[in-house]
Symmetry: C2
Subunit: 417 residues, 2 copies
């Protein structure tokens, strides 16, 4: 066995014991971990490890943004600990009876929520994901194999070491969590082929990372993240609602997947609306990339190419497309979006209903900002990512999306006729 | 575009219109199809096509069993029509509100069941799957690309031609169904790479076919079928219940995935139980492959090798393994089964509970035959296959397993703070 296979096999053998833990035990372990992450000795060990990563990052001229994502300090560590404690407070979905029936032959069938088994998580710079992903997968009775970014290896190893310590201290196999510390691409490829040991792989990070996992994995993947979100201003829009929603969706946080990237506007309102848009976007330093039909109303805008409509800028840039009908808006959005989140601004109920039904996205909004696509905003109390696929989970994924189910059938000697 | 890509793209473009059909329209189309499959002209066209397939099969010395699966006649065609009509009678899961909440900020969130989009089905000899798979996917608002076995190409094309005719006659794009008629392996591989157009691929057929799809597909796959089902006779089993359950699970239909392939027996009951087993298995001409601890009590049995415990015989063969505890039984089964269906025969509630919880299978039984793992027996009214994976769907898959969901969020100007 190679080191990667050995690690995955060890986590797989620990999975049944994690799956069998009761809610009280799981919560006790999570609280113990939260406590541990605040203990001086652990804090020092993690911060020391993080300073190694930071130094390596600076030496390799890592951009400021990435250095900041990599950085841990006492405040961030206590936020991480608080996050773990919050997961302990959430209701445990495992064991929930989803359906129950007694068949005419007397068979009693229960559909019961169970863990998925072993979850693999592939992520990038942020070391907080290490603790967060462990807490969410452990709470749902899953074992987990983590593969963080090579930038953060020392920090991740220090956090995993604290987790393993807490598991052992509570009589649980430390193999319930494994971390692939290699930076070798061959090992990443091998990890993604471990179908025998890992039930699902969840990539968290940039569009590039997600694409690499989707294309390279032999394990089923839940595709997350990439969001080319559109806002459509309908001919019957209340323009006073439209402007603050667009400002919020575009500028409240630019680097996130639920930020708006493209504005679609009905030609009937463009002359009234676009000047309003322009002044608010100028105020927020947003560059506009406009189509032929709108650019005349948007002094300072640059001409949009087709590529713009399909681009997730993650920046202070917004593309503008004019349409002559709701139909055209729906067609345009379904063509260029990533199926994440899209919104219509309208006072027309029929238009809203058609948009809700016909836009093929995880989350479709009427008169609200796309920024609400988030496990916490949806009331899930947690979030492991936002799925842009339709299989298994779609939209924000909380604890329940980390579970499967099984059928438990009890009889008294029934045989099939 | 290659022919395969062109076909998949055409089905993808038809998908939104199918997704938007109301229940009444979908049911009318299905009833019209059932009628059409009984019309003399259609019957003749399909049977003529089938006779071409049959002749080709005989010429290539296809075994009797496969020839029989390939054969269509008037009786089988009316069963197929009746199957399509039954699907029309089932409740439509699309549009079901799965959850609904109003957030503190006033956002109204509804989680609504929607079609998956485009489903790909890869299957083998039986041409009845063509009509059946279309009916189930159409009822759930999905478009479908079919790829049947090369043996049955003429029959499948004739059935699809009838379907397309009925669709057109009802004002629906005939591209809602596509069939890949090529027998070229390159085209099969290309089909399995059409991730852009197809949301999920469901293989139906032999273990070999399923493995080939799981290994070759770039589209998410729902793994179905392979069933190495175990029955465990506990030390506290009622042996009078055990014997008929094992006879049923092993012999009622040998070639199916929910048939029992292996018996696990507690050593405390082996001396009382194995002679009972032997006489009933002899009566049903079942060959026993027994481990060292049991073979002495089973005159005529052949020694089991480790390979036997992991084999899905689909034949009149049963392996026998002796264990000294429930723990050992659970470990043994979880090691060798395929996660499909396993049963315990016991009068001990604690043992039953542990078995239900700790056996990692889609369906776990207490005192009943594994043969009940079936969409119809579970009351789903339909079945597209039995999933042995944990993602998206597990166990028998009915209409609901062919759906996804989306979030519809309505507000009145909410922005994120």
């Amino acid at each position: 066995m190679t080191p990667v296979e050995k690690l995955c096999a060890a986590v797989r053998s620990a999975a049944p014991s994690v799956a069998g833990l009761d809610t009280g035990t799981k919560n006790r372990v999570l609280c113990a971990l939260a406590d541990r992450l605040l203990e001086e000795e652990t804090v020092r060990a993690i911060l020391e490890a993080n300073s190694i990563d930071m130094e390596r990052g600076r030496e390799s001229h890592m951009p400021e943004g990435r250095l900041d994502r990599l950085l841990l300090n006492r405040e961030r560590l206590s936020q991480i600990a608080e996050g773990v404690r919050q997961v302990a407070l959430l209701p445990d979905p495992i064991g929930e009876i989803l359906e129950e029936s007694v068949r005419p032959n007397g068979l009693h069938i229960r559909k019961v929520r169970v863990p998925l088994g072993v979850i693999g998580i592939i992520y990038e710079s942020r070391p907080n994901v290490t603790a967060d992903a462990f807490a969410l997968t452990f709470k749902t009775g899953n074992a987990v194999v983590l593969k963080g970014g090579s930038d953060a290896i020392a920090s991740n190893l220090a956090i995993v070491s604290a987790i393993k310590d807490v598991l052992s201290g509570n009589g649980i196999s430390p193999d319930a969590v494994g971390i692939i510390a290699s930076t070798d691409r061959k090992d990443a490829a091998e990890f993604m082929s471990m179908r025998e040991y890992i039930d699902v792989l969840i990539p968290r990070g940039s569009a590039g990372l997600i694409r690499a996992v989707v294309e390279g994995s032999r394990i089923p993947v839940i595709e997350t993240g990439s969001g080319n979100c559109h806002i459509y201003v309908d001919e019957s829009a209340d323009l006073d609602k439209a402007v603050p929603i667009i400002i919020n969706a575009k500028t409240q946080r630019i680097g996130v997947c639920n930020a708006a990237e493209s504005l679609v506007v009905h030609e009937a309102v463009k002359e009234r609306f676009l000047p309003l848009l322009l002044s608010s976007m100028n105020e927020h330093h947003v560059e506009l990339r406009a189509d032929e039909e709108s650019i005349g109303l948007l002094p300072g805008a640059v001409p949009a190419t087709e590529k713009d409509f399909g681009t997730e800028y993650l920046d202070y840039i917004l593309s503008v497309k004019t349409v002559s009908s709701l139909d055209e808006a729906i067609r345009h959005i379904n063509r260029y979006h990533t199926g994440h989140s899209d919104a219509i601004i309208t006072e027309d109920e029929a238009a809203a209903e058609r948009f809700l039904n016909e836009i093929d996205s995880a989350c479709v909004y009427v008169n609200a900002s796309t920024r609400f696509t988030d496990g916490f905003e949806f009331g899930f109390g947690a979030e492991i990512g936002i799925s842009t696929q339709k299989l298994h989970a779609r939209g924000p994924m909380g604890l329940r999306e980390l579970t499967s189910y099984k059928y438990k059938i009890t009889g008294n000697g029934q045989v099939r006729a």
